[in-house]
Symmetry: C2
Subunit: 503 residues, 2 copies
C-alpha cells in the first residue's frame, strides 16, 4: 500500500510493509526534500497533527520524525510557532555525477615507475589469506605499533641484510609509507636534535629538496661527479646531515666510489652527523653486481630509507627506515604523531610475501623484463638519436639523456606533451643550471612503446619551433604531475579571488 500527500509543495510517499518503519520513511523523505531544495529554507511545515491526518499515520510518527530532524539541524522550532526548515540550506549531493580525471598521455616515461601489470596479484592475495588465517590476527588489528608490526620488521630486516648488505635489526627498523614520509620523519627527528641544515646532491631529487625545506630545514647543494658526491665539499658546509643515493645516484645513475663512501662515513663520524641513505632502486642492476649499503658499514651514522615502490608497486605505500639506536624511539614517536602508524595488514602481508619467497621470485622476473626494456631503450636512442649522450644505463628503472647545448628543456617537454607523450627533464632536480637533459623511465613500458616513444621524442627534438606555450616558470620546478595539477588548481582559484586573509 502506498500513501501520498501533498501539503503545499511537500511530496511525501510512504510504503507500508516494506522494511523501513513509517517514521524512518517520513524522516528520509523530509531530509531528502530539504537536501534537494524541494523544501526551501524557512519554509513552514504542517503541524504534526495535520501531517499525520494527511498521511493516515499516528501523530507520534510525525512527532518523532520532526524531533529527529530538529536534532540533526534540518528543522528549527520556536515555542508557539510552526516548525520550519532551517535557514542554512544544505547543498545538494552530486554523487554519481561524472568528473573523471582527464585521460593520461599515451606514453609516460616517468622515471622510477615499475611495471604494475606484473604485480604478483595471486601471491599477494595468498599472503593476505595466510595472514588472516592466523588465529590471533585480531591482536594485530587494534591500534598499530607506531614502529611497525614486529613480524614485518623482522622479515624486512632479514631481507635487507641478505640482499642489500645492511646490518638491519627489527628493533631499529621503523616502518612508514615510503620514501617521502621516511624523509619527513628523519627531518623531524634531526630538527629536534638541533640540526638546521641538510646537504643534498646536485643534481638530486627536486621533490626531496622541497620536502626537506618544508620540514623547516635549510638545504645546501653539493655537486656530484662521476664518483658520486664531492665529499670534500661537505667539510666546508655546516650541515648536520646529508642525503645521498650511493647505489645509483638520482638522476645521473653514478655509483658512489669506494673512496668516497669511506670519506663520507669518516666525515659523519667526525662530525657526529647523519647520512640519509636513499636506496631507491638498488634491486635493479643489470650489468654488475649489487652495491652494498652505507648502512651496513656504519649503522650508527646512517638513516637508511627504502620502500616497495620500485620493487612491487608505488600504490602499496610500504617503506622502512633503519635508524641509529639513539634515534629509533624519536622516529617511532614522529610516526605516531604523523598518522598513528601504517596499516598493519599490509605490513604483515608483505612479511608473509617475503618469507614465502614471493618477493625474490617477483624480482627475478622483473629484472629480466626491465633489462630487456633497458636494452630496447638504449637501442632506440642509438637508432633515433645517435648523437645523444646517455648515462646511468647499468642499473635502475630510468636513464638520463643529455640534450644538445642551448636546448630549452621545458619546450621539449611541452612539445612531447602535445604528442601525448609525457617525459621528464632534469631541470627540477638541479640546483645550478648545467645543461638540459631528459630522464626516461623504461621499466613500465612495453618494448614497442619504448621504440615508438623514442621515435616521437626524436621528432620533438628535431622540431625547432614546437610552438607550445611554456608553462609558468614556477610549475616547471615541480616534477610530479599530481603536484603540478594541484598547484595549478590552487593558483587558478586564487586568481579567481576565492582567497581571503583569515585570522
Amino acid at each position: 500500500m502506498k500513501r501520498t500527500t501533498f501539503p503545499g509543495e511537500l511530496l511525501v510517499s510512504l510504503r507500508r510493509g516494506e522494511g523501513q518503519s513509517l517514521r524512518e520513511q517520513l524522516e528520509g523523505e523530509l531530509r531528502t526534500a530539504i537536501q534537494r531544495g524541494r523544501l526551501t529554507c524557512g519554509a513552514a511545515l504542517p503541524s504534526s497533527r495535520a501531517l499525520a491526518a494527511d498521511l493516515g499515520v499516528s501523530r507520534g510518527v510525525v512527532v518523532l520524525a520532526y524531533d529527529q530532524l530538529l536534532a540533526e539541524g534540518y528543522l528549527v522550532a520556536s515555542r508557539g510557532s510552526a516548525t520550519r526548515v532551517a535557514s542554512r540550506p544544505p547543498a545538494r549531493p552530486a554523487i554519481g555525477v561524472t568528473d573523471e580525471p582527464a585521460a593520461g598521455p599515451r606514453y609516460d616515461f616517468r622515471p622510477g615507475l615499475p611495471d604494475t601489470s606484473i604485480f604478483p596479484r595471486r601471491a599477494w592475495l595468498s599472503s593476505l589469506r595466510r595472514v588472516l588465517a592466523v588465529p590471533d590476527v585480531e591482536t594485530a588489528l587494534g591500534y598499530p605499533d607506531p614502529q611497525g608490526a614486529r613480524p614485518a620488521r623482522l622479515a624486512i630486516a632479514a631481507y635487507l641484510n641478505r640482499t642489500r648488505g645492511t646490518v638491519a635489526r627489527a628493533e631499529r627498523t621503523v616502518l612508514c609509507t615510503g620514501f617521502a614520509q621516511g624523509l619527513r620523519l628523519v627531518c623531524d627527528v634531526l630538527r629536534q636534535r638541533g640540526v638546521t641544515r641538510v646537504a643534498v646532491e646536485d643534481p638530486g631529487h627536486g621533490g626531496q629538496r622541497a620536502d626537506i625545506a618544508a620540514m623547516g630545514l635549510r638545504v645546501s647543494s653539493v655537486p656530484v661527479d662521476d664518483s658520486g658526491l664531492r665529499v670534500d665539499r661537505l667539510t666546508r658546509l655546516n650541515v648536520g646531515a646529508v642525503l645521498v643515493t650511493p647505489a645509483h645516484q638520482f638522476p645521473t645513475g653514478v655509483v658512489m666510489a669506494p673512496r668516497r663512501r669511506q670519506a663520507l662515513l669518516e666525515w659523519a663520524s667526525r662530525h657526529d652527523a647523519i647520512v640519509i641513505e636513499d636506496d631507491y632502486d638498488a634491486e635493479f642492476r643489470f650489468d654488475r653486481e649489487p652495491v652494498g649499503t652505507l648502512q651496513g658499514l656504519a649503522e650508527d651514522h646512517v638513516a637508511y630509507i627504502g620502500s616497495t615502490s620500485k620493487t612491487l608497486a608505488p600504490a602499496l605505500r610500504i617503506g622502512w627506515l633503519l635508524m641509529p639506536r639513539r634515534l629509533v624511539d624519536r622516529t617511532a614517536l614522529a610516526k605516531l604523531h604523523a598518522d598513528h602508524g601504517s596499516p598493519t595488514l599490509d605490513q604483515l602481508t608483505l612479511a608473509e610475501f617475503i618469507t614465502s619467497g614471493g618477493l625474490d621470485r617477483h624480482l627475478r622476473k622483473a629484472r629480466l623484463l626491465y633489462r630487456r626494456r633497458r636494452d630496447a631503450m638504449v637501442a632506440a636512442l642509438q637508432s633515433h638519436l645517435p648523437a645523444s649522450k646517455v648515462r646511468g644505463v647499468a642499473a635502475g628503472l630510468h636513464l638520463m639523456v643529455a640534450l644538445p647545448a642551448g636546448t630549452d628543456e621545458d619546450a621539449v617537454l611541452a612539445a612531447a606533451e602535445q604528442r601525448s607523450m609525457r617525459i621528464y627533464g632534469v631541470g627540477p632536480h638541479r640546483a645550478r643550471d648545467a645543461g638540459a637533459a631528459l630522464l626516461l623511465g623504461y621499466a613500465s613500458l612495453p618494448e614497442a612503446d619504448i621504440r615508438a616513444g623514442v621515435a616521437l621524442l626524436a621528432s620533438c627534438l628535431a622540431d625547432k619551433a614546437p610552438g607550445t606555450k611554456p608553462r609558468p616558470i614556477a610549475l616547471t620546478r615541480i616534477w610530479d604531475p599530481a603536484e603540478r595539477r594541484l598547484l595549478a588548481g590552487i593558483a587558478a582559484e586564487a586568481s579567481i579571488g576565492g582567497e581571503r586573509q583569515r585570522r
Copy 2:
C-alpha cells in the same frame, strides 16, 4: 666437494656445485667475516694470487670478490700495499634475537577500541580478491591519486550520505589514514590560510589538543555542558576554527543540541570560520536514532573527518575528509607532501566492501554485540559501584564514570595497572581540573571480562592506600600507551646522557 683455507685468522669455506658461484661464495664469506668481526678493522688480506692458490680457484675469482667488497666499502686498497679491511667496523646483525614487547594487561578498557575479533576477515579478503580481478587494476597500482582512489571516494561519499546525513561528493572527499592524519592535514591547510588559533572542547581529546599545537597552531578551550559546546563562548575568542564532536562528545558522550548546532554554524558563517567535525563513533547508537552531521547542513564551513578505526579496525588506517570546495586541492596537496597518498589497494578493497553490503552487515552485528556489552558494563557498575555517576551510555564504545571528589585519578590508574588492568582517566582530556573520572571502553571486551574488570576496579577504588609509585607528572598527560612508552624511552636515554646538542 668442500675446500677450506686458513690464512691467518681467516676461515673461508667454498662448496662446489651448490648453486652459488665460487666468487659469490667467497664474497659472502668475506663479508660475513667482516660483519661478525672475525676479520678486524685494518687487517691485511692475502694477495689475490696467494688466496687463489690457497683455495684452489682461479685468481680472477678472488679479484672479482675483492673488487665487489671494495665497491661496498668493506675493503680498502691503496696502490702498492695490501688490500685491507676498512677502518669502520660494521656492527654485527642481531636478527632473530628476541626482544618481544612485554605482554599487555589482562583487561584493557581503552576507550574507542572496537572488537577486532569480529573483523570480517573472509569478506575483506573477498573484496580484495574482486579488486585484484579487475583487468585494469594495474592502472591503480602506480603512484596513488593523493586525494584517494576515485572509486573509493565515491563509495565512501555515498555511504556517508546514506547513513550520516552528509552531503558528501567524491570530488570534495580526501582520503587519509585516520583521524590523526586528517586533523593534521586540516591544520596544515588552515595555517596556510592564516588561521593561528583553533578552539577545542573542554573536556576534549587530549591527543588532539597536542596534535593541533604540534602543527603550530594555538589552542583555546571552550567548555562543554549537557547541550554540548558553549557556542556563546566562541564569539569571545579570536579563533579561525573549532574542533567538535557533535554526534557524541568525547569524552562525556553528550549530543550537541539542535540550537547549539544552529548557533555554531551561524558563528562559522559569520566569521568565515571552519568547524572541524569529528564523527568518530557515530555508527554506534543504542538507545536513540543516529544524529546527522553538521557537514550535511553547511558543507562550505565544515571539515568533516571520519575513519574505519571504530567501525572495522584501527589497524586498517583508512580515514576520510569531506572538505569545503575551496580547501580541497590544498588538502590533497598537503596529503601528497605528507606521504604521497594512502595505499590504493586498501581504499579499493574498502570501496568493494561497502558497495557489496559488507560494511552494513558488519555494523549490524557489531551494534548488537556492543549493546550487550554496554548493558553488561552498566549492570556491573550498578552492582559494584552503585554510587558512581555514569555518563554517555546511549552511544559509542565507552562510557564515563565520575569518581568521588578528591580521588587521585592517577593513583587509581596505577593501582589498576598493578592488578593487570589498564583503565583510562579523563585527566589528559581536561584543560581545567573538574574532578576525577574514568573512561571505560567496553566494545572490545567479552561480558565476563567486563564484569571481572569492574569488580577489580571497585577493589582499586576501595583501596585507600594503593601504595603505587605515581608516574612522572608529564606522562600522566599522555593517554596513549604507545606514546607514553616511547616518551619514557626517550627520557631514559636522555638521562643516560646519550643526548648532545647538534648543529
